[in-house]
Subunit: 271 residues, 3 copies
Amino acid sequence: MNTIRSDFSIAPLPFPDALAAACLQQFQTTPPLVHCLTNEVVQSFTANVLLALGAFPAMVVEAEEAAQFSTIANSLLINIGTLHHSRAESMLAAIQAANQSATPWVLDPVAVGGLTYRTDFAHQLLSLKPAAIRGNASEIMALSGLATMGRGVDSVDSSVSALPAARQLALQVQTVVAVTGEVDYITDGLRDFAVTGGDKLMTRVVGTGCALSAVVAAFCALEGDRLHHVATACRVMSQVGGQVSQQVAGPGSFIPAFLDGLYQLKISDLL
Amino acid sequence: MNTIRSDFSIAPLPFPDALAAACLQQFQTTPPLVHCLTNEVVQSFTANVLLALGAFPAMVVEAEEAAQFSTIANSLLINIGTLHHSRAESMLAAIQAANQSATPWVLDPVAVGGLTYRTDFAHQLLSLKPAAIRGNASEIMALSGLATMGRGVDSVDSSVSALPAARQLALQVQTVVAVTGEVDYITDGLRDFAVTGGDKLMTRVVGTGCALSAVVAAFCALEGDRLHHVATACRVMSQVGGQVSQQVAGPGSFIPAFLDGLYQLKISDLL
Amino acid sequence: MNTIRSDFSIAPLPFPDALAAACLQQFQTTPPLVHCLTNEVVQSFTANVLLALGAFPAMVVEAEEAAQFSTIANSLLINIGTLHHSRAESMLAAIQAANQSATPWVLDPVAVGGLTYRTDFAHQLLSLKPAAIRGNASEIMALSGLATMGRGVDSVDSSVSALPAARQLALQVQTVVAVTGEVDYITDGLRDFAVTGGDKLMTRVVGTGCALSAVVAAFCALEGDRLHHVATACRVMSQVGGQVSQQVAGPGSFIPAFLDGLYQLKISDLL
């Protein structure tokens, strides 16, 4: 069904600076309240990233409250990195309430593929209409049909190799998919954008990918073209991360510098 | 019953430097062991704040152990930010053991008001004699009777607008209430103090309020006038936070600088 | 059975630089994937420490997945700092799978001794053949038979006073024991090494001991003499921690500087 857009030879266009700047302006004008059901390891960093950008993070975890809060929040993040049965129930309750109140929700399918429990859960979530999905190449390939076509699914897959899977997944689920890596690709299955930037140092800091998914969720709260909003989330994180990586001595000093960079980011910095 | 002290026109006195200095000296002489049952997002920052001040944090979470540890610890913090059923049981077990062994415990009623489960739980806890309660204006108003008198309960309430609620809550529960914000007010319902300082930047760092509640719990371990001890906890955090905010580039570099500032704090710095 | 090596007068030899350098080279050549079932407070710092050293941390917590992942990982860390029933089940499942697939696992018996639930659990784990145990003096004494011989078990015990307990525990369990403090002692019951370095400032940063246990687990993934590998883990953390402590203003700035130091560590720095 998706033969044309699976063609590797059609290279995605760079995401235009002017669109990114317009989206960031919209974001800063109406900073969203983001409900984060995310993994245990990255909660603090995730909250600090959202706060640095001017958004309002909140983690409400008991099922009945998570559902109640999803109707109040502007968007919802579901990250399955440290999934367990009790939290999975809360996630389902939160997603159902989000869908009933038209709160967009975003899936980060951490480590989907090799591990059975989370892989089954993530596939179940696909039917619940995520507004966007953000993952690395291996995760996006594992979530899509292409991933079962005999390719090795591991973290050394490059993001471009997962672009056909991302496009197919976006069409299947009717969502926006961001497959991130050295280059980030953002697609709704019919249109794609590429975002460059970032730095390998970011892979030595826990939670940079998870925090990006939270920022994607935050941008999904905006009215307008979701493909542009998700691409802007990627752009913001890649640009600040890339710049900061040049200025620091290692992954330890990256963390405070990155948060400062997000806090200081101006719309004109994207132009 | 509380008509006089609800009068807005009686402005609280600034908390005297000499009292703060004496309390800090007492604290440094007998650094407390603080049992923290706090939310998932802020556990690491909370522990680092207590360690920087010279106190000893410990998080013991299974109900039977939490109860056992409450009899050993010098004080107990209960923060309901990421409350769930299993942790709520541990909190109740810890509080009951704390009360039986005269270990003071402190309540941080995170986000009480809009969310039903935690609001019911927090009201239940009020009957279990907290030594102190620390919250923002909206939380304190939601916990007190005044909060139901038609006012909007949200995070834009200023702390002074919650002072009548704080006084009433303190009298009702026979506790010390700290309602914190641009100015912190600390009251036992009959006496109040004001603590200035801090900086808006602190609202862009996750856990500064939660960590303050842990420091309040630490100071509640001291013998003497609890109102003074709670006010000193607020003073220490406001002073160091305010100073550090002037020296840093954003919320990222605030975190290490704040911990360093707490670590370096001398009694003479309060005078 | 252990009378000779319990003799206090036989001082352990310093761990040779050349052995440490060779182990670190082996580590950097084959950076391990480390499954961490660790406490809630230190997960982020633990992951960042492993990433800074070039290893790959992963936290997979639901019992069935934890078991599945233990067969894939190169080693497993079990830290009982915030033990609760559900996580204890996951730990047992992970350990059993690890043992079936010859994945080495390491025990950090946080706060064992005074608290009944975790103490019983830790003793149960001893029969499941940990590759190494890393604890402070009080914890190692509590785990061993010597600990019940009337000595006070508290955190002021020096590591040298726990050396006989460490040797006995190592022989009993047929494992490597690292008892860490101002000096670290690493023993398999028949041979011991001493590692100096570190700094008192590290006791004011939450998770330095827990992160050391994760690094011990990472080094236990290596082929060869496990005693040397565990000693190298201690050496790396002590050396970087000691150097960094001289350069920072307090525990806040220690954290980024420590991670940077681990990231920048060269084999020649150990010689």
